[in-house]
Assembly symmetry: C2
Homo-oligomer: 462 residues x 2
């Protein structure tokens, strides 16, 4: 709760019209795409400059007031949720693209630039920012970096981490650190850039980033394949990956597809239905690449791994095929899905999936479970849909019971309990599934170095 004098001080630090306390704004900016928390923010602040961010953090440190960073709020673990009277610091007014370096193939921008804006800017300049996901129209670069966002091209281009060559951050002491200066090579001690990537705002705020850009890919072709057996997805992956440089290799279940089709905006890709589908994408790098892809299709069909498939004949068709995969999340949002975002090393996917399938079938007999994910990265998204009649708290409690079994299995496989969604509030209690007690102790100690007063996004991650 902000005292009137505090509110007045914040108004002076920024400008009165960039300190919001109306219910609408508090609710909207106090929540991300996680729907399990009740927002309760004290105010929402909209700084425009790094200096303003520094002033805010120093003020918060003096007043011992907790801060929550706010990007596009598309997170799925409650990392950007304010539910304890915190101040929300929105970066949406810090949305300038500052400098393009065409020779160095980098772009420097403020934290609030929207992913899609950056992607389009890069393309307009003959370059390419390859980190992409369904939420790219809302998510912001600062949030992507704070959560090390993954997405649908990781199999080729890696996570956000790989694309950050410079960071400007404001620590919990209001200190500005300029990390790595956009350099391709710089071996001068501990690389704090990588400490901030994926730190979910708990060490400081990312205010500016320099990102690498790639050459744009050649024309992309998309295939969707019908796969009766989950285990064969890995066989198909191996066959294609050995011959083609894949830019994506995604899978989803018939159940997921049905939710997308139910919206009536896209068509089933072929007559044949199967329990699972693969969507793969590759660059038409040589004149015979498509021929190769079709030969691989024949080979996989002969092995009995797939029963039908389609290869895009145009960019428009490719985009339509992508919607079968990309629209899943949105199509199931009305069911308030409980999400598991888990990963194991790729080669262990078949064994892991077999055991996971058994657990889910046994533990969720009453719930609909929708599978999809990035199998080329070993990353599965399990979405449990809430039956309409069930209260959300009861539903969440039921899912958390099942978590015990799921995370037991993840632990047995040395897997990740949050492959790309981060920890935030939602996964906070499961950190020890993937990190040892020694690591958690050291994480807490590292946090207290960068944020000695614990004002930066408290209660999240560690």
């Amino acid at each position: 709760m902000l005292a009137p004098q505090q509110l007045a001080e914040l108004g002076r630090l920024l400008a009165a019209d960039r300190v919001a306390t109306d219910t609408d704004t508090l609710t909207r900016y106090g929540l991300d795409w996680t729907r399990y928390f009740t927002p309760d923010a004290a105010a929402v602040l909209f700084p425009k400059t790094v200096e303003e961010v520094v002033a805010l953090v120093r003020w918060a440190q003096r007043e011992q007031f907790a801060l929550v960073p706010s990007g596009g709020r598309t997170g799925l673990s409650g990392g950007a949720v304010a539910r304890n009277g915190e101040l929300v610091v929105s970066f949406e007014r810090m949305n300038a693209i500052l400098e393009l370096d065409k020779v160095g193939r980098t772009v420097r921008c403020q934290a609030g630039v929207i992913t899609k804006t950056l992607q389009e800017y890069a393309l307009a300049n003959g370059l390419y920012y390859p980190v992409d996901f369904a939420s790219s129209g809302s998510s912001q670069i600062g949030g992507n970096i704070a959560t090390n966002a993954g997405g649908i091209k990781v199999v080729r281009y890696g996570m956000t981490r790989e694309w950050v060559v410079g960071l400007k951050v404001v620590t919990g002491e209001g200190e500005v650190l300029e990390l790595n200066h956009g350099l391709a090579k710089n071996n001068t001690g501990y690389d704090f850039r990588h400490l901030f990537i994926g730190s979910e705002g708990t060490l400081g705020f990312i205010v500016e980033a320099t990102l690498r850009l790639a050459r744009p890919p050649a024309e992309l072709a998309v295939m969707v394949l019908a796969v009766p057996q989950l285990a064969d997805i890995m066989n198909i992956f191996n066959a294609y990956r050995d011959k083609l440089d894949l830019t994506a290799f995604e899978f989803f279940s018939e159940q997921a597809l049905r939710h997308v089709l139910a919206r009536g905006t896209v068509q089933r890709p072929f007559d044949e239905a199967a329990d699972y589908y693969v969507l793969l994408e590759f660059e038409k790098i040589a004149p015979d690449t498509e021929t190769q892809a079709l030969a691989l299709f024949e080979y996989c069909a002969e092995q009995g791994w797939l029963v039908d498939g389609v290869l895009s004949q145009s960019q428009q068709q490719a985009a339509e095929l992508w919607r079968l995969r990309e629209d899943i999340s949105e199509s199931i949002t009305p069911y308030k899905p409980y999400k598991n975002d888990i990963a194991v090393v790729v080669s262990k996917v078949p064994a892991f999936v077999a055991q996971l399938d058994e657990i889910l079938a046994r533990e969720y007999p009453q719930f609909e479970v929708v599978w999809f994910g990035h199998i080329g990265d070993g990353n599965l998204h399990i979405n449990v849909l809430k039956p309409e009649a069930l209260a959300i708290d009861d539903f969440r409690r039921a899912c958390e019971q099942v978590n015990k079994h799921v995370f037991e299995l993840v632990r047995d496989f040395n897997g990740s309990m949050s492959a790309e969604h981060g920890v935030g509030l939602l996964k906070h209690d499961y950190l020890d599934v993937s990190r040892s007690h020694a690591e958690i102790r050291l994480m807490k100690a590292v946090k207290s170095l960068f944020d000695p007063d614990g004002i930066m996004n408290p209660g999240k991650l560690v």
Copy 2:
């Protein structure tokens, strides 16, 4: 200095024949490729297991005895030098390749595996470990990771950092941390793996690593080009990089070439001499790639950027051309070169080089200066050769005088004062050229979390 009882204890922790105190071993293992320090190690230890490393570290913590890690000792900044009576911990007996995952394309190995051994093992299994440098026949994986080694393929494949998906480390408290478990995706808090990469043994010892492997490249073609003007190297880089996916783009001076030719083992690549040469490499990914490369050659020649060149006609010729670049370091070793390993962002290379050239010509009139480096990464190696008559200490002092000017310039350009060689002992005093005082303070604090007694490679880096 080890007391007899301490020596006896170490003999019990390992085995008597894995604790060496003879002068030969102490001298050999107390020094790396930096020739500016006098080795003074108390003993050299050869553990065989992680448990033995843990026992050693715990013993050292109890006895407050400093430890220095020792890999292939090919470092160029004195990171692995013992000159204050430390215990050297050699990893050469921990040299097992533990597990190949062909589907996941990863390999798990102990820290002491030699780079070339790993490269050959990968190739024998149809895969590829792309981090490569002239010292690959001696350098060890653990040392590569501890120094985030770069090398000659960074422009395509990045630094060692990009290839590490799992690390097992022993901290300065003797705690074993298993970092990231080889996962492609794992967003569960601060990524300590990246903190240990490039930490030069100051936080703990790397005992095991899981490395990503790539598909082997298609057949590689090499071109060497004669370039009269240093500034035009960037123009050539831009022209080629826009059309071809380069796997290497190196440059060296005529002066460097002369040292290589003087050894009489390789030939001048063409009759025409120029002040500078470019060596570039690309995959013959399509039937017309070489035609494209030759068309680019014509274009660059028309612009007046180059005056001669050669394209390899066989793998043997490609290997011979590579020796023109790779043999430089060895050919100048007898001159005890003082090395600057500096980097700026790629687009600033021409401006930086022009000013640097001026400084070197002005400040080193009496010394021969040999240039080479990885211009596609913005990374220049400046080697100042010691005149035979000059004492090494006087020579080093003279070079350190010039450093002031060089590092002033690096600082003006927000560059790196050690792009790939690390900090170690040699660059320790220049850390603030590339890192702010706030960063250095935080680096020291982070070190004290992982190594509270300061026993891990003290005096290096921070």
